[in-house]
């Protein structure tokens, strides 16, 4: 299925929760989903036979600009059987970034969500074990945010080496 | 019972097969080198050469450096520090030298007589003031005995693959430091260098330069002496 068709299927199924379809920019077109509905949408995508998105290729957080009010959480999903892929995007506000987890649908989302939490501070509700994964547990701040200032010292060591 | 015996049998058999593989290698020659003893590749057998173009220590033939700061900009890890002042418009210190790349892979550094911009394959090129790049003594050796003294050589246009043109040196360099402890040996800086004076040593010196102190790994390329002399014509290649 083409991304447009998937978009139509999703709008038919979820209506309001599907916010739009971005095709203007170069590269992959993406479907914008309301963050609260992301689990339902993913569940639907994974379990419907005609879609059968059985593998989550990549899950990434993104902070596109320091001026933006929102983080993006981007899901690249692929269906081995039908060989089609789709990009879902959920925008979460920077002030309180949280959205439901999809780690029970694709287990690989477990670590990818932990990584997004670690580097962006996006909270995934319903995640089993949302700990920092790459950085030390007691690290301050979320380094991939555009407004991140690196700390001067970490446990007595100078950070900007 | 059948499986039991089969298991024993397979265990013994595969062990013997593996032992056959290893005992064959037992009588094969060594593949290793005694590195510090055999690394001098004029003396010993079986020592691999460091191939041409190997990315070793960075070296700047500073008299040809025009101070364009392209290397500083492209360096992903900021290991190059350049400070300097641009001369007033229209002034220049001297011209950098030509680098002639021959098709057999050697590079000759010198000054092309005449116009270096347009080189046709039927032309022959005469190079004067040939200096050798560090570690490539073979260039000097290539020259005729008479040429070795006058440091002049002539190549036919077919031999030449590429010529780097002369650029005016318009920067007065105060500092050109390369911190090799930060360098990640990506070689991007040598690619952007317009005069090809920034090179990576593809010789043993380019690899074996470990120091006891990290600060010794900051290499300064200084030009002050040359400024006082006022030109590249009399300057020998740096040591």
């Amino acid at each position: 299925m083409k991304p447009e068709e998937i978009y139509e299927v999703l709008t038919k199924q979820f209506g309001e929760a599907v916010l739009g379809f971005d095709t203007e920019l170069a590269g992959d077109p993406s479907i914008r989903i309301a963050p609260s509905a992301i689990t339902d949408v993913c569940q639907y995508l994974a379990e419907t036979d005609t879609l059968a998105f059985d593998s989550l290729m990549c899950l990434s957080g993104a902070d596109l600009s320091a001026k933006d009010e929102e983080f993006a959480v981007v899901y690249h999903i692929y269906a081995m059987q039908h060989r089609h892929s789709i990009v879902l995007k959920a925008m979460v506000p920077k002030t309180n970034p949280h959205l439901p987890s999809v780690s029970h649908i694709w287990k690989t989302a477990d670590w990818h969500e932990r990584e997004a939490y670690d580097l962006y501070g996006i909270l995934f509700e319903g995640h089993q074990d949302l700990r920092r994964i790459l950085l030390p547990d007691d690290w301050d701040g979320y380094p991939l945010r555009k407004d991140y200032k690196e700390p001067e010292f970490y446990r007595g060591m100078r950070v900007p080496y | 019972m059948d499986k039991y015996i089969r298991n024993i049998y397979r265990g013994v058999y595969t062990v013997l097969v593996g032992m056959r593989v290893t005992i064959r290698q037992f009588f094969e020659p060594n593949v290793t080198h005694q590195y510090p003893y055999e690394h001098d590749y004029e003396k010993k057998r079986n020592v691999r050469e460091i191939p041409k173009g190997y990315r070793g220590q960075l070296y700047n033939r500073i008299e040809d450096c025009i101070g364009c700061k392209k290397c500083e900009m492209i360096c992903p890890v900021d290991c190059i520090t350049i400070t300097g002042t641009k001369l007033p418009r229209g002034e220049q210190l001297w011209d950098s030298m030509n680098v002639v790349h021959l098709k057999d892979g050697t590079e000759v550094i010198g000054i092309i007589e005449g116009d270096d911009k347009k080189i046709k394959s039927e032309d022959s090129i005469t190079l004067t003031n040939i200096t050798s790049r560090l570690g490539s003594q073979e260039v000097i050796d290539r020259l005729e005995p008479s040429g070795a003294e006058s440091r002049t050589a002539t190549f036919s246009g077919d031999e030449v693959s590429r010529v780097v043109t002369r650029n005016p040196v318009v920067f007065y360099l105060d500092q050109f430091d390369i911190d090799m402890s930060l360098c990640m040996y990506c070689g991007l800086c040598t690619e952007v260098c317009p005069t090809e004076c920034l090179v990576m040593k593809d010789s043993l010196e380019g690899i074996e330069y470990s120091k006891f102190d990290r600060s010794d790994l900051i290499f300064n390329f200084d030009k002050q002496e040359m400024y006082s002399k006022g030109g590249t014509e009399d300057v020998e290649a740096a040591d």
């Binding site: 920019l25 170069a26 590269g27 992959d28 993406s30 059985d54 593998s55 290729m57 990549c58 990434s60 993104a62 596109l64 981007v74 690249h76 081995m80 059987q81 060989r83 990009v87 694709w106 287990k107 690989t108 477990d110 670590w111 990818h112 580097l119 920092r132 994964i133 790459l134 950085l135 030390p136 | 265990g11 058999y13 595969t14 062990v15 097969v17 593996g18 593989v21 290893t22 290698q25 593949v31 691999r48 191939p51 041409k52 173009g53 190997y54 990315r55 492209i74 992903p76 790349h101 098709k103 892979g105 590429r162 990640m184 040996y185 990506c186 070689g187 991007l188 040598t190 690619e191 990576m200």
Partner: protein, 401 residues
């Protein structure tokens, strides 16, 4: 997609009342392939739970990249999977090229010669990577000799890479729009002929050795005992955990990006995709450690085949670098994946039209595959943990980025 039937896996009954011992395996441990730390909860020799802790090699490559221009990022991708750095370079360059393709005004095409060189070098790099994986796996299981044999042969490949790009491990060879010209190799020159001859000589030397390695290790009954029916990963589990590459094929899923989503010029070559099957004579079932390991051994043969086809055709003449003034992709985003030796290497790039990416995420195959370790290792023994880590073939530089 077929599902594989689960056969009995060697799971040992846990006694809930027994004392538990918590052991830290790593970050400094001989066989955690770098700086992986596993928190093992042991009941004697039996592992109740193995919790991986990663991040000891974290360099925040993604943050770095946001401050670097695209060509400057390439040397950083070398440091991701330093065992197969060519493939990492390529994956990144493919993603950027794909993003730039969409902009018609800056259209360019990667020259034919560069494509051939890329495939040639990357397949050789795949052999080198699998050789390392084979060697270290042998050492994990306790056989030291295969390790040195693998390094002996890998050394010849590294010498080849050294000649073509000037470095042994961090190549920075494949560039956006072509390959590096740092060591020029004129079409039809003696240098090119020597290079191809050396590759041919290596292949002639190496091809029979694969069978020898199979005799030495793969078919060895002790090795088979150690690795077969251990940590069986079903196809569903592999897909769900995002295991890709040899790990996915080891679970019986016939999937290879080179064949199924051909990028570059892979559609011109004839090669098979090895997929695991049950091997009853050794007791192997689909999805166990042995299958994953065996896929790598078979893939080396396929890579040799691809390289031989290139050698038979000869490199086309022409330039190796596209005429590309500046690398400045249009505004937009791309996720592009390629088949690295360890699996599907994806790069998610968001560009705002400037020379620097806004967001770059490397989706490394090992990161996803390693997350399956916790589930795979439950109820096995300490020695099996080592077997699993080796069989999913992680490189911590890529996991931690």
């Amino acid at each position: 997609m077929e599902t594989t039937q689960q056969t009995e896996s060697k799971i040992i009954e846990l006694k809930p009342f027994a004392d538990e011992m918590v052991v830290n395996m790593g970050p400094q441990h001989p066989s955690t392939h770098g700086v992986l730390r596993l928190e093992l909860k042991l009941d004697g020799e039996v592992v109740r739970e193995a919790i991986p802790h990663i991040g000891y090699l974290h360099r925040c490559f993604e943050k770095h990249s946001e401050n670097l221009s695209y060509p400057q990022i390439i040397p950083f991708t070398d440091r991701m999977d330093y065992v197969a750095a060519m493939n990492q370079n390529w994956g990144f360059c493919l993603a950027v090229e794909k993003l730039m393709e969409t902009d018609e005004s800056r259209n360019f095409e990667v020259p034919e010669r560069a494509e051939y060189l890329r495939v040639l070098i990357c397949e050789l790099n795949r052999i080198a990577s699998h050789l390392l994986s084979f060697g270290t796996y042998g050492m994990d299981i306790g056989a030291f000799t295969p390790f040195l044999y693998a390094f002996r042969d890998r050394e010849r490949l590294l010498l080849l890479f050294e000649k073509v790009c000037g470095a042994r491990l961090t190549y920075n060879y494949i560039r956006i729009g072509g390959v590096s010209e740092i060591i020029p190799m004129e079409p039809g020159s003696i240098a090119e002929q020597n290079f191809l001859d050396e590759i041919e000589a290596f292949l002639d030397y190496f091809e029979p050795l694969i069978d020898e390695y199979n005799d030495l290790l793969t078919k060895n009954s002790i090795f088979a005992e150690r690795t077969t029916r251990v940590a069986v990963m079903s196809a569903e589990m592999a897909l769900s955990y995002g295991a890709t590459g040899p790990n996915l094929r080891g679970s019986g899923v016939d999937w290879d990006l080179r064949r199924d989503e051909p990028y570059s010029i892979y559609d011109r070559f004839d090669f098979d995709v090895p997929v695991a099957v049950d091997v009853p004579e050794l007791g192997s079932v689909v999805g166990d450690c042995w299958s994953r390991y065996k896929i790598r051994m078979d893939e080396m043969k396929e890579s040799v085949r691809i390289v031989r086809q290139i050698l038979a055709e000869g490199l086309p003449s022409g330039p190796v670098m596209a005429d590309l003034k500046a690398v400045r992709p249009p505004q937009g985003e791309i996720y592009f994946r390629s088949e690295a030796p360890r699996g599907e290497l994806g790069f998610y790039i968001v560009s705002d039209g400037t020379p620097k990416p806004v967001r770059l995420k490397g989706r490394s195959p090992c990161f996803s595959a390693l997350s399956a370790l916790q589930e795979l290792s439950r109820g096995l023994m300490v020695a099996d943990i080592i077997a699993i880590i080796g069989s999913i073939d992680i490189v911590m530089g890529e996991v931690d980025r």
